[in-house]
């Protein structure tokens, strides 16, 4: 049950199989070539998204959490 590089493959993942290392090496080269950003900058950009997204969802959800009002 292994891909050409020995590990279940592919960015076309249907469930959560690991990405194929050979394909990822090719893709990361293309990303480097196209964006021209240093690894540190890419880490900072993606890391910021991973941190900010849950905080925003949490804050907005808590602010809009349905509160029960009293009725007679």
């Amino acid at each position: 049950m292994v891909g050409p590089s020995g590990v279940p493959a592919g960015p076309l993942l249907h469930v959560s199989e690991p990405i194929d290392p050979a394909l990822w090496a090719w893709l990361s080269d293309k990303i480097d070539h196209t964006l021209g950003l240093s690894p540190g900058v890419i880490i900072a950009i993606i890391g910021t998204f991973i941190v900010v997204f849950p905080i925003v969802v949490m804050v907005v959800a808590v602010r809009n959490r349905p509160s029960r009002k009293s009725v007679e």
């Binding site: 279940p8 690991p18 959800a61």
Partner: protein
């Protein structure tokens, strides 16, 4: 004078915030597992092992993840989805950080192959889909589709993140960071935002106005004629088998392509770069396709869309052995991309429509297990067939035939007779209603 409490009308239904939280959990959980492939070469050098040895951990994880689905689904039905997703992400996060301390393949098999992969079953459609099915009925299709797309986004975001952290700081730091982020942000997010049922917040499904008493701790929902009081009851009816068999075919045709597509491309003298580019196109089309199918499925019969998805994928398979390789790879990327993820929200929604949500985790967990086992079997058989015949033509033809069968089986589902969308047994009947109680979480 009796004072009663009633939830205020909200501008945006709270269920959409729950989708946001589960989307993030799915993104981290699936993205983290997909990132495994990034570390293979590093581990080979550090531990002096072969890729095949490391693949044992990946293969073990695949099977464990499949087998875990009915169990975590059952836990979801018993204890509520919130508890299961919170504990699953907590265990997964700690075990992911633990991988940083591993010094050999045995530790990797134990942590990744067993613990992380089992816990990841708790952040799968068998659990997250159940929560969404309890919050959404009229927009269940698009809600499921948005959630499922979190897996695709996870691959696009988390895999590069892990790769660049590996380059800058080493593989141990990469595993510590992704586990730490899940622990620091994912777990609190689920704890604070997610609730198993709308009734836990005094809301109604789809944000409808309540017809129950304001202080009711029980919501009565109409159900379809096949509503499963006990999960075993469902096994005596046809729809669960129709859905599981078609999902089994889904597993066969997606897993075999995931593993064998590059090898097929190489056998057709197509470069790895072109194959990767075609995969990228397929992923983009796939994300759009699942959202489009989700929208349509809230308007049309879901079984017809499910049949269409399988038949379209069948056409993609046929293109692989009928067309010349360089054309076939792009035909497959475009045609196959439209159908790739779309089966998940359709199968989950149909299961919920027919059997209700009380035992949905267990029932969809069974279907998920069928999917994973079908995939594992197909990967081995496709490999055996290529070794025996030196070509993928026969396996691809068999794949196309199974997809044709899946399309016909999907069409044979009597949705208008079984689904709560079309036939509702009035609430309050002896067996014709589903009581949704507060989980107290």
């Amino acid at each position: 004078m009796v004072s009663k409490s009633q939830p205020e009308k909200q501008s945006l239904y709270y269920g959409w915030y729950i989708i946001g939280a589960l989307f993030f959990a799915t993104l981290i959980a699936i993205g983290g597992r997909q990132g495994f492939g990034v570390f293979v070469k590093t581990w080979e050098q550090d531990w002096g092992v072969t890729t095949t040895t490391i693949s044992i951990a990946a293969a073990t994880g695949w099977l464990v993840n499949g087998i875990s689905q009915p169990f975590v689904g059952r836990l979801t039905d018993i204890y509520g989805g919130r508890r299961v997703v919170v504990w699953s992400l907590l265990v997964m996060a700690i075990a992911t950080m633990g991988v940083a301390t591993v010094t050999n393949i045995y530790g990797l098999i134990a942590l990744y192959g067993f613990i992380i992969s089992f816990a990841a079953g708790g952040i799968s459609p068998a659990t997250t889909g159940v929560i969404i099915a309890r919050w959404f009925e009229k927009k269940r299709g698009i809600a499921m589709a948005v959630l499922i797309s979190g897996g695709s986004v996870g691959g696009m975001i988390v895999v590069p993140f892990l790769s660049y952290v590996l380059i800058e700081f080493g593989w141990q730091t990469a595993w510590l960071m992704i586990g730490g982020l899940a622990l620091a942000f994912g777990v609190p997010l689920l704890l604070i935002v997610v609730r198993s049922n709308p009734v836990d917040m005094g809301l109604e499904i789809d944000g409808e106005e309540s017809e129950n008493t304001p202080e009711a701790e029980v919501t009565v929902r109409p159900v379809g004629p096949k509503f499963a009081e006990k999960w075993k009851d469902a096994l005596n009816s046809r729809p669960i088998w129709q859905l599981s068999v078609t999902y089994f075919v889904c597993g066969i045709t997606t897993a075999s392509i995931s593993v064998h597509f590059v090898r097929w491309a190489i056998s057709e003298d197509i470069s790895t770069g072109t194959a990767a580019l075609a995969f990228g196109a397929l992923s983009g089309i796939n994300a759009c396709g699942v959202l489009a199918i989700g929208l349509l499925s809230d308007r049309w019969q879901r079984k017809n869309l499910l049949a269409a998805v399988y038949l379209v994928r069948g056409l993609a398979f046929i293109s692989l052995f009928v067309l010349p390789g360089p054309i076939a790879i792009w035909a497959f990327a475009v045609i196959g991309g439209m159908s790739w993820l779309a089966t998940v929200p359709l199968t989950a929604s149909l299961t919920a429509d027919v059997y209700g949500v009380r035992n949905l985790g267990t029932l969809f967990g069974f279907a998920n297990m069928a999917h994973q086992l079908g995939g594992a079997a197909a990967v081995m058989l496709f490999g055996w067939a290529f070794t025996a015949w030196g070509s993928y033509d026969i396996p691809f033809a068999i794949g196309a035939a199974t997809l044709l069968a899946a399309g016909i089986i999907s069409l044979s589902i009597r949705e208008k007779q079984h689904s709560v969308r079309y036939v509702q047994v009035p609430a309050g009947g002896a067996t014709g209603s589903e009581l949704i109680t507060q989980d107290g979480d």
